[in-house]
């Protein structure tokens, strides 16, 4: 098990390293475009050459990558040309805001999706299953930007009970969190619920569950004691694999509601060609993704003894 974990950790480091290399190569391999992005399109050839020379861009690409990487590891994430501040100064605040959004969303999505999935997978093709499955399909079909519009229309314009922006200008406000979280929950829960349902259906068809039912055990007990534990392995993986999905989803919601999180930074960085900011956002996003995958692996190991003892 230790061997498995250290192997996974090694692969994880390799992935982060390789992705950081790709991002760096895409953004900084061609030094002329870097100069244009930093100095603007109206700079002269001379100014660009001077700037490149001054900032060490005329060195070998691989040397520059090594320097960037060592700076990055030591906590120097470069200078944001958009915000005119070092990236490290403001990035963590934004990341924290996104963590709050994603955390609350997951805290609602997971119990909701599991309940939906278990209830509908428990009795396949029953009326309850049909209705719940249909709700889940609708949830996965409505794009976030559409639910942003629909929910704003209902709660902000028609009922007027929620604020239409979540910029939190006057300090942190729970009320401003409701709409972004609602949109993300609707966007996310259908998929997990469907995986839970599929897994539950499969477990309900196994012979040990049938035996339990046939020997006259109450149905509730069959589900909660016998079926549930095995049915949860697939959804647990799915829940953790949802994080990259959630991170993508967060971008749209943050833009739509002017929420100050990393999705906001990422789009801002992309639109204004802010190289250091894009690099930071991408590397952090990749680290979040691979870490959640590692956690998923570890949890699966505990749920499934066949993996634990092999």
């Amino acid at each position: 098990m230790l061997l498995f974990l250290s192997k996974r950790l090694g692969l994880l480091l390799l992935t982060v390293l390789a992705t950081s290399f790709i991002v760096f190569a895409v953004l900084e391999l061609d030094v002329d475009t870097v100069a244009v992005k930093v100095l603007g399109g109206y700079s002269t050839q001379e100014q660009r050459a001077l700037w490149l020379e001054e900032n060490g861009y005329n060195r070998l690409f691989i040397t520059r990558y090594a320097e960037w990487l060592s700076n990055f590891v030591q906590g120097d994430f470069g200078y944001s040309t958009r915000f005119k501040r070092p990236v490290g100064d403001f990035f963590w605040n934004y990341l924290g805001m996104t963590a709050i959004l994603a955390g609350i969303t997951m805290a609602i999505v997971v119990p909701l999706a599991l309940t939906f999935g278990i209830l509908s997978g428990m009795k396949e093709t029953s009326l309850l299953d049909r209705v719940l499955s249909f709700i889940c399909i609708i949830s996965t079909s409505v794009p976030e930007f559409a639910s942003v519009i629909l929910f704003s229309f209902i709660f902000v314009f028609t009922l007027g009970i929620l604020p239409g922006t979540s910029s939190m200008i006057q300090g942190f406000s729970w009320k401003e969190l409701v709409l972004p979280v609602l949109v993300l929950v609707v966007y996310d829960f259908g998929y997990i619920a469907r995986i839970t349902r599929a897994s539950m259906v499969e477990v309900m068809h196994t012979s040990y569950v049938r035996t339990a039912i046939l020997k006259g055990m109450p149905f509730k007990r069959v589900v909660t004691v016998h079926a549930l534990r095995n049915a949860l392995i697939a959804p647990v993986t799915a829940i953790f694999l949802q994080f990259p999905w959630l991170l993508s989803g967060v971008v749209v919601v943050e833009i739509a509601f002017a929420y100050k999180g990393i999705g906001h930074l990422l789009l801002e960085g992309a639109l204004y060609h802010d190289i250091s900011l894009i690099e930071m956002c991408t590397v952090v996003a990749v680290i979040v993704v691979v870490l959640t995958q590692l956690i998923a692996d570890i949890i699966c190991m505990f749920l499934n003894p066949r993996i634990r003892f092999s």
Binding site: I137, S141, F153, F157, L247, V251
Partner: protein, 287 residues
């Protein structure tokens, strides 16, 4: 019976199978409806999508010239219904067209990795996992910002971001199929690897792939919508749904029809594809 007729009757039987369940019927209906609208867009739309009629007309009301605008008009006076109808073309075209190269690359490499195994598999899987560890939207943003927003660049971005997922599915299916007896028989017969990959293995993997294709076209439509919503979609004159929502958003407070109808359009299209995929999946698992 000749081959084309038998495949046609087969198709009809499958369609009948799908339509026999209410959700499958709804899925088939919505999908075919939008395909129909896309094909006959110029005949169905009452106005040109770029014609300036009269700004900010509410749905179901008349312009000064007495023209009925069923879904109203937008902030510069274009008919919303005509724009939605014409918008089916770029949305459907690019979402289907962008899914194909992703399938071509993803399934070729998936077949290779699953069939040859060993170092081919290790290297290809590592690359696929590498790409998959980027959140997709981050990938799209970097590619689109780097290459600039246009239809063909959306195809590049989607190919790049979706082929690893397709690769994984095809690889897993190939690993399963490659161990069966008929593949062994083909190898002993001395068939070439290409023949085995594309004639023996791929057709046997088509069930799950068709389901995934339907889902993926839907997600691609959403992606194009998201890019349009973020202002990175197809260039302005083209009336794609995401860009319509993006440009109508500032007016959503007092003119909600400008954004609500495109939202309903894209949701119903994706819903149709999802229901269809679900039903095909049911039928596959019954066989």
């Amino acid at each position: 019976m000749s081959a084309p007729t038998s495949s046609l009757t087969k198709l009809f039987r499958i369609l009948k199978d799908i339509a026999s369940s209410p959700f499958g019927f709804l899925g088939l209906f919505l999908t075919l409806f939008w395909i129909f609208v896309a094909i006959f867009a110029p005949l169905l739309a009452p106005f040109s999508p770029t014609e300036l009629i009269q700004p900010l007309v509410k749905p179901l009301s008349y312009t000064k010239n007495g023209q009925l605008l069923i879904l109203g008009s937008d902030h510069i006076g274009r008919d919303v219904l005509s724009r939605i109808i014409h918008g089916t073309r770029p949305v459907l075209f690019w979402s289907i067209f962008a899914t194909f190269p992703a399938y071509f690359i993803g399934s070729s490499l998936g077949l290779a990795a699953g069939y040859y195994k060993k170092s081919t598999d290790t290297i290809l899987s590592f690359i696929a996992n590498l790409i998959l560890s980027f959140p997709v939207l981050v990938l799209y943003l970097i590619i689109i910002v780097y290459l600039g927003p246009s239809g063909s660049n959306i195809v590049v971005a989607i190919t790049f971001a979706s082929s690893p997922a397709i690769f994984r599915i095809v690889r897993a299916l190939t690993l399963d199929i490659a161990g069966r007896d008929f593949i062994n028989a083909a190898q002993i017969r001395g068939e070439s690897s290409l023949y085995i990959l594309f004639i023996e293995i791929l057709p046997n993997a088509k069930g799950p792939l068709i389901v995934d294709f339907c889902l993926r076209v839907g997600y691609t439509a959403i992606t194009i919508g998201v890019l349009g919503f973020l202002g990175l979609g197809l260039p302005p004159p083209s009336p794609d749904w995401g860009s319509m929502i993006n440009s109508g958003r500032p007016f959503a407070l007092f003119m909600p029809h400008m954004v609500i109808f495109p939202c309903i359009a894209i949701s119903s299209f994706v819903l149709g594809l999802n229901l269809l995929a679900d039903e095909i999946n049911h039928i596959n698992s019954r066989i």
